[in-house]
Amino acid sequence: MLLWIAGFIILLVKLTIVLGVVLFLAGYLVWVERKFLARLQVRLGPNRAGPFGLLQPLADIVKMLTKEDTVPDGADRAFFLLAPAVVALTALLMFSVVPFGKDITVLGQRVPLVITDLNIGLLFVFAMSSLSVYGVALGGWASNNKYGLLGGIRGAAQMISYELALGLSLVPIVMLAHSFSIVDIVGAQQKYPFILYQPLAFLIFVISAMAESKRIPFDLPEAENELVAGYHTEYSGMRFGLFFLGEYVHMMVFGGLLAVLFLGGWRGPFLPPVVWLLIKIFLVALFMIWVRGTLPRLRYDQLMTLGWKVLIPLALINILVTGAVGLM
């Protein structure tokens, strides 16, 4: 009984710390994105709130919380109010299987530095990633707005087609690690990170991950210049903020997954494991922002062609080649 209570307390502490850190970093990722993107475009970026604009996320949150929370006439009220929560929640839940260090020992108890070491961790990630489609599609549909609806439909189509490539690109990783558990996958990268074995899978994963998190050049669901703001056109205040938060947490989750699956996770010389994981996440995020500053949005048919005719066949070939090499 005592052991059970101790385990529960440890779990709560881990949850609190991870949730706090993830939300804090998601807030500052917005700042990093605005600042870095601005420098790429020879601008300065936010620099008024606090030194270097460091208080900008705080100001944004205060602004969003104090804005009026509107529901349009004719909207499907329940779904409209629920959709942003789905997007933010699924993005946050995905973080629960990302390990951020070796097991440590507290009071004679082995404490794994991951919230839950699911033996089907990867499948859980895909499940959550698929569920977030509901947030986008339902949010767009429940707004009773043609831009919202178009954005939601585009979001659903895009995320379903890229999910296949995303899942298929990770099958070779599972074959190499002999496990679906993300902790085991990190353990299998003791010698070399998987990016050296699987550069093609890495490439496919990066492209599909960008499409999954709806970032430029795959931001068709929220294309500003055609669809106003796409599926979140009608949202205001903190509900819009939740969509926004979901997108940035998504960015961090895919940074984390990329680090864990291909770049060796928390492994690295000299620095503590958590710092290495954060550095890898940060570098992935910087890369995503860099791409955002470079590429224009794809056309809808180009998006579908890339997904179905290029990425999925490539991922299938990659699986066959990996299997053949593994048999030899």
Partner: protein, 178 residues
């Protein structure tokens, strides 16, 4: 296959170009600290000027009010005992004013002029209604010399009819003698 290589090459060259821009100095002008030098004829807040002798230039001719495309200028003319006209009240509604400068062009006495001051934004829209005392300034503006009554053919303290600058004596219409 070749086109795929071409595409990747273009992609990388694009990424490289963007990366180079990271190391360029931002071209942003930080407004309240740095104010861009304005052209001398930039059009901003409107003023009513005085003539070099220190009297109001405005003779309340209504030309500015008539030419104003948004009808933001209104006034009421009056006459002093010595016959000089002035505006009893003069009002510009800057909430409507588009700073087009037509009033300045129409003004025969150089009374109404536009300044280069553009920083008079307010949160209260009623505070944009400027009365005569808000508009009057204690200088001549851009036109330092001009004094309408020195040239106008009316009797004033600057002389009788025919005695002004560049004016000839009035013709005696009762006589044919040259």
């Amino acid at each position: 296959m070749e086109s795929a290589f071409e595409a990747v090459k273009e992609l990388l060259s694009g990424l490289w170009t963007v990366l180079i821009h990271l190391f360029r100095k931002p071209i942003t002008e930080q407004y309240p600290e740095y104010k861009r030098p304005l052209p001398v004829r930039a059009r901003g807040r409107i003023i009513l000027t005085l003539d070099p002798d220190g009297e109001e230039r405005c003779v309340s001719c209504y030309l500015c009010s008539a030419v104003c495309p948004v009808n933001c200028i209104s006034m009421e003319g009056a006459e002093r005992p010595d016959g000089r006209r002035f505006a009893a009240w003069f009002r510009i509604n800057f909430a409507r004013c588009i700073l087009c400068g037509f009033c300045e062009e129409a003004c025969p006495t150089s009374a109404i002029q536009l300044t280069t001051d553009y920083e008079f934004a307010k949160t209260n829209i009623l505070a944009f209604v400027y009365e005569k005392e808000d508009l009057l300034v204690n200088h001549q503006g851009k036109d330092k010399e001009y004094n309408f009554y020195r040239y106008a053919g009316v009797t004033s303290k600057y002389g009788d009819k025919g005695e002004h600058v560049g004016e000839s004596k009035p013709v005696d219409i009762k006589s044919n003698m040259p």
